[in-house]
Subunit: 178 residues, 2 copies
Amino acid sequence: MPYIEKTMKSERIYDGKILNLRVDTVELPDKKYSKREIVEHPGAVAIIAVNEKNELIIIRQYRKAIDRVLLEIPAGKLELNEEPIESAKRELKEETGYIADKIEYVMEFYTSPGFSNEKIYLFLAQGLTPGEQELEIGEYIDVEKYSLEELMKMIKLGEIVDSKTIVGINYYYNLINK
Amino acid sequence: MPYIEKTMKSERIYDGKILNLRVDTVELPDKKYSKREIVEHPGAVAIIAVNEKNELIIIRQYRKAIDRVLLEIPAGKLELNEEPIESAKRELKEETGYIADKIEYVMEFYTSPGFSNEKIYLFLAQGLTPGEQELEIGEYIDVEKYSLEELMKMIKLGEIVDSKTIVGINYYYNLINK
């Protein structure tokens, strides 16, 4: 079994709006020490939202961290004490305007376990009713729709390069092709 | 089209061993300002390594950021000026001992574009020759093998919860089932 690292010291570097950074000193089996740089994140939800034509709702959004516009499934951070399913309904409405008749838990996964505790809860939303977006200050999001076949091709062509979006599209592709 | 944010100020918070943290002040269209907390990461590679029985090589490793042991495909950070394909060969050998006859680029994706520039280059490695692991100080990794059917089931059961690993397994599943 892999060695479980014991924390000897934990130094808080930064407490921010969407993330915190700490550096832990851990003890290794040979009594040596090592540093672990850890980004604390509240967790997030992502939503595979499917309309009556079996198209997925995809958002187009600028991402400052990579200075690039990405195509992604709707997603957003968990608020304090918020249940993931409530967060999924809220983010879907805010980012796309859609309200789902039916929303169900699919799976959860870590995005970057080498340096962050960010966990994404993935949901499947169906029975969509369109409405107005409710964007936060500083959010500018275009809402688009693509068929599953288009999306699988866009992954292959490198037009979709966001990991949670690739996981979500593959999940739905395997679900309806099984 | 989404609004491209202009950087008005950039404050360096932390320069570390595997990541840096900076906080950018960006201008929004209405001349308001907002902060963007950004984790700079050198990028990484991940490897779908397949043996002659069509099993995937999976590593079991403790991850301090989530205080949990995870099953993942072999992966690791890019070193300075290192080509991704060289990094993939190096990491595969170091973490699992295997040397691949054939290693090819599959795709690249961002793990957490909301707050980090981490990009993963995914490779497919075949024609594996076993050898000795070359672990770094502080690395403790078990090497295991699973069939594709087992892995697809483990994703469903929540036994595999790492996003790059889910992307890699789905890629290979779709490749051989098309």
